[in-house]
């Protein structure tokens, strides 16, 4: 009996170690083998629209309430990409912040002028915008579109 317990403990420990080294998986299995640099995706987004890409970066932000998006740092300075997932399909924990994430997803764009956030913050008085908001939403010379990754599967290490 004691030997059986020992065996179970050893197997559990080994399986935990195995999972720990692989990182935690979210959503579908990652199928792509080749990674694409986030800077490459963001510099030529139109060529990647609707295509599946595998990107890697540090998780710099997580959706606080539903865990329905994460923001990944790019290999290019100050640049990030937002990974949005269907609510409930994948829930990213807040503890992901600062960890390395490997994400497979499809690039898509949204019209900045159509976002609720933009309308709320920028339609009437731009002086109401915080510096961050002004930079991201209210700038006149900001591109018309924001590019996001629709996350299908992820591994967070």
């Amino acid at each position: 009996m004691k030997n059986h317990i020992k065996l179970v403990v050893i197997m559990l420990t080994l399986s935990t170690m195995l999972f720990a080294s692989d990182g935690k998986k979210y959503g579908k299995e990652i199928g792509l083998k080749e990674k694409t640099k986030i800077s490459e995706v963001m510099s030529k987004p139109e060529t990647y629209i609707g295509k599946k890409v595998l990107v890697e970066g540090t998780v710099v932000n997580v959706c606080e309430k539903r865990g329905c998006w994460i923001e990944l740092s790019s290999d290019k300075k100050y640049e990030t990409i937002k990974v949005k997932v269907n609510d409930g399909e994948i829930v990213f924990p807040m503890e992901s912040k600062g960890k390395i994430a490997l994400v497979e997803g499809e690039l898509y764009s949204i019209d900045n002028k159509e976002t609720k956030e933009h309308k709320e913050n920028c339609t009437e008085d731009k002086s109401n915008c915080s510096e961050e908001k002004a930079k991201s939403d209210c700038s006149d010379h900001k591109s018309e579109k924001t590019y996001l990754l629709k996350g299908l599967g992820a591994v967070i290490k």
């Binding site: 710099v60 829930v91 503890e95 912040k97």
Partner: protein
């Protein structure tokens, strides 16, 4: 009458069996119902701390991180960092994030902690586990239907479905219908 005896047995034993799940799903139900007013999974404490300003745009990421840590006198080890701007850096520690703007001399501190029991309940209730838990949840849902149906026929007489019970059942049906008429149609 024999059927009523079976209903009682089913209702009683399923009641025992699913006691824990009823509590878990109910608690989580209330928690996620108010997701716009509170975070059902985490306690997030945010605070702002003033630090000495620094106007050096040539500073490296490592030196900037070190500067912020020294300014805040933080003992936690920094897991990773992200330079979000020329004078801005985000530092990640165990359950702690610091967003510093050294030009403005402000560091925003965010400390997260899990809401024990709520987080685990939400994980199960919202089926974040997927896999085999999906079947457990399906079985639980079917069992709730059985609990509801058998509950109707447990008590005979004036306190049963033939008596006052039917008014309560009708009231219970009417409540969702009224809300649907007001909000949905």
């Amino acid at each position: 009458m024999k059927l009523r005896r079976y209903f009682r047995v089913i209702h009683r034993d399923f009641g025992y069996l699913f006691f824990a799940l009823v509590i878990i799903y109910s608690v989580s139900g209330i928690a996620v119902n108010h997701v716009d007013k509170w975070n059902p999974n985490y306690k997030i404490e945010k605070s702002s701390i003033k630090i000495k300003t620094l106007n050096d745009s040539t500073i490296t990421d490592e030196s900037l991180a070190k500067y912020v840590v020294t300014q805040l006198d933080i003992k936690d080890s920094v897991k990773s960092s992200f330079r979000s701007g020329l004078f801005e850096i985000r530092l990640f520690m165990e359950n702690k994030t610091i967003d510093a703007n050294v030009k403005k001399g402000i560091a925003d501190l965010e400390v997260i902690s899990s809401r024990r029991f709520f987080r685990e309940s939400n994980y199960l209730h919202l089926n974040s586990a997927k896999k085999a838990w999906t079947y457990v949840a399906d079985y639980f849902a079917i069992s709730l239907i059985l609990l509801a149906v058998t509950g109707l026929f447990m008590v005979p007489g004036k306190n049963g479905l033939e008596g006052r019970g039917k008014y309560f059942v009708m009231l219970g049906i009417l409540v969702p219908i009224i809300f649907l008429l007001i909000y949905f149609y």
